[in-house]
């Protein structure tokens, strides 16, 4: 008995060690970025920063936040995300509701018609030519309309609607509700969990979008935050980081802490809201997997 206990304790310790490692490896990059962003540039250069800030100061944040482009791009991203997600939800809900009904005229055809796009697409160039033809270059609609419906999200929502008991809708119809009232007053209120989940998926999609704005937007004033980040973090584009260059001799030092401060500014909203919303995300994955 004693031996079994010992091996069980060892087993538990081993499991917990692995989990602790996962925790550390996941969090450490964020911790390091935060520490560097709050440190004295000289301490960073001497590699004295690892787990906590050295020579705590907020200068890098001051210089990030005094850059007008971070505000402009932040505002753009919020606009694109809000408008885009609204379009997504209206389009996806209506389509998914219709497809979920067994008696829909041409249901089989419309199902294949939508699902086929998961398997095959025209690719980058035909899409680019289309957006060009539609005159959407440099317009926010170039980022929103081409992804008005995410087919995978559509299927998740359709699966959810199919699972709703048909009796409540039928009784509402007998009570004299027209189809629109049934959808808005009966179906949507009982579907709040899935609506929340899909809304979040879409919002994250818009928030993180990089490639579409890269190819469809030329006007700096319209860039979303991801393009701004790419220019600051990866290309080291100085025309964006005007406040950085002005301090000539310490330029290199500052830019490291400034880069890391930029990362924190960009991901802070997600890190703050994420723990409260994560249960909705997981729900979406699980509903999706039932069908997939």
């Amino acid at each position: 008995m004693k031996k079994a206990n010992l091996s069980s304790v060892l087993f538990d310790s081993f499991i917990n060690l692995i989990l602790a490692l996962v925790l550390l490896v996941t969090l450490y990059p964020f911790l390091h970025v935060a520490s560097v962003s709050l440190s004295d540039p000289y301490a960073v250069m001497q590699n004295r920063v690892s787990f906590y800030p050295v020579g705590f100061n907020l200068n890098s944040y001051k210089s990030v936040l005094s850059n007008p482009y971070i505000w402009i791009s932040y505002k753009n991203t919020i606009v694109y995300t809000v408008v885009g997600t609204c379009v997504n939800m209206v389009m996806t809900t209506t389509m998914a509701y219709s497809l979920s009904k067994k008696y829909l005229f041409g249901r089989k055809f419309f199902s294949v018609f939508t699902i086929f796009t998961l398997f095959f697409n025209g690719g980058i160039i035909p899409n680019y030519i289309l957006i060009n033809k539609l005159g959407l270059i440099d317009s926010m609609w170039a980022l929103i309309l081409p992804i008005a419906i995410g087919t995978w999200n559509l299927m998740v929502m359709r699966t959810y609607f199919e699972g709703l008991p048909s009796e409540i809708e039928e009784s509402a119809a007998i009570d004299g509700c027209n189809p629109l009232q049934v959808l808005v007053k009966i179906v949507l209120p009982v579907s709040k969990p899935i609506l929340a989940t899909i809304t979040l998926f879409y919002a994250v999609w818009h928030w993180n979008m990089y490639f579409s704005p890269l190819i469809y937007l030329n006007d700096k004033e319209k860039y979303p935050i991801q393009i701004f980040l790419q220019q600051i973090l990866i290309t080291g584009e100085t025309s964006f980081a005007n406040t950085v260059v002005s301090i000539e001799d310490t330029h290199l030092l500052i830019s490291d802490t400034v880069k890391y401060a930029t990362i924190i500014v960009a991901i802070l909203p997600i890190i703050i809201v994420y723990p409260f919303l994560q249960k909705y995300f997981i729900k979406g994955v699980l509903i999706g997997s039932v069908k997939g």
């Binding site: 925790l23 970025v33 209506t94 697409n121 980058i124 680019y128 973090l233």
Partner: protein, 313 residues
């Protein structure tokens, strides 16, 4: 006569079904227009791969390409770079699949054994987080961590090794790519395995205990067999999607020094098509990728259906 009345019956049934679903069809109109314009029109646009497209003439009026329209494909197949980007695409995907595949399974098995609920929830919540960080931020962190004065080189120099500009040498690229993928997706990908584990019949554990199995044996003989079906299906779909891997991360991380291992079909299409405006040629390249990708996904779906009666259709 019989056929006529059958046809009549069929038509009247269809008409009734149509009448009944008028409202549903009406609210579908925006969605249908969306699919036609933004999915099926670009598919139609693929014909420029067989033409010498120029912006002024448009898709219809542009002349057909030489060699019965296959000029651009022949050009592609004769290009030495083609074999490099094809190889890189397949190898990068395969590496990603092979090395990222076991990680979420191990994590799920460990999480399943964790006793304290708070601890388990904490690890889960934290491990899902990187999934929501944008590719740009991930690549920004990678670029800065791997720079000469970055975190990774700081750690390396602690061991007395020389600092290296990792992103300038082709031999490191695949490792970097796969490592970031593991870091970002392991937690998120463990969700499905956690779900599979929670579906296992508790009686099995009881029976196992009576037989005197320890917890490691429980994992080996109950938990792992319990998640194999899920793992198989996911693996089949991943291999099927080998050609369709996103190239955004490559685009953000690569540079001409490491094209040898990093340049994939997607980035090549971007450079030649969007940057270089060689529309017809790059459409042909993309078309090639789409067709191969489509065939692989369909095959994968067939196999998956055979394996587990689970399918996308």
């Amino acid at each position: 006569m019989r056929a006529m009345s059958n046809l009549k019956l069929y038509l009247s049934e269809q008409y009734r079904s149509f009448k009944r679903s008028r409202f549903l069809l009406l609210i579908m109109v925006p969605g249908i227009i969306y699919y036609v314009v933004f999915h099926y029109l670009p598919m139609y646009g693929l014909i420029i791969a067989f033409k010498d497209f120029n912006v002024f003439d448009g898709i219809i009026k542009s002349p057909w390409a030489a060699n019965y329209g296959f000029k651009h494909f022949l050009e592609l197949f004769n290009l030495p770079v083609f074999y490099r980007i094809l190889k890189n695409t397949v190898l990068l995907s395969l590496n990603t699949i092979v090395f990222t595949f076991p990680a979420p399974i191990i994590l799920a098995l460990c999480l399943n054994e964790a006793k304290a609920d708070v601890w388990k929830k904490t690890v889960q919540t934290v491990s899902y987080l990187p999934h929501f960080i944008s590719t740009v931020v991930i690549c920004g962190m990678v670029t800065n961590f791997l720079s000469l004065s970055g975190l990774v080189n700081d750690i390396i120099s602690l061991f007395g090794l020389k600092r290296i500009q990792f992103l300038l040498y082709p031999q490191y690229f695949r490792t970097i790519f796969v490592a970031t993928e593991i870091w970002q997706q392991t937690g998120w990908n463990s969700i499905l395995y956690m779900a599979a584990l929670s579906q296992i019949n508790p009686e099995l554990y009881e029976a196992c205990k009576i037989d005197g199995a320890n917890r490691l044996q429980q994992i080996l003989y109950i938990n792992i067999p319990g998640i194999i079906p899920t793992a198989m299906i996911l693996l089949i779909f991943k291999i099927g999607g080998i050609m369709n891997m996103g190239f955004e991360k490559v685009l953000l991380l690569y540079n001409p020094n490491i094209y040898e291992t990093a340049d994939v079909i997607g980035t090549f299409v971007y450079r030649r098509g969007i940057v270089g405006a060689e529309f017809s040629f790059s459409t042909a390249v993309g078309f090639f990728q789409s067709v191969i990708g489509f065939v692989l996904v369909v095959i994968a779906n067939r196999i998956a259906r055979k394996v587990n009666e689970v399918s996308l259709w």
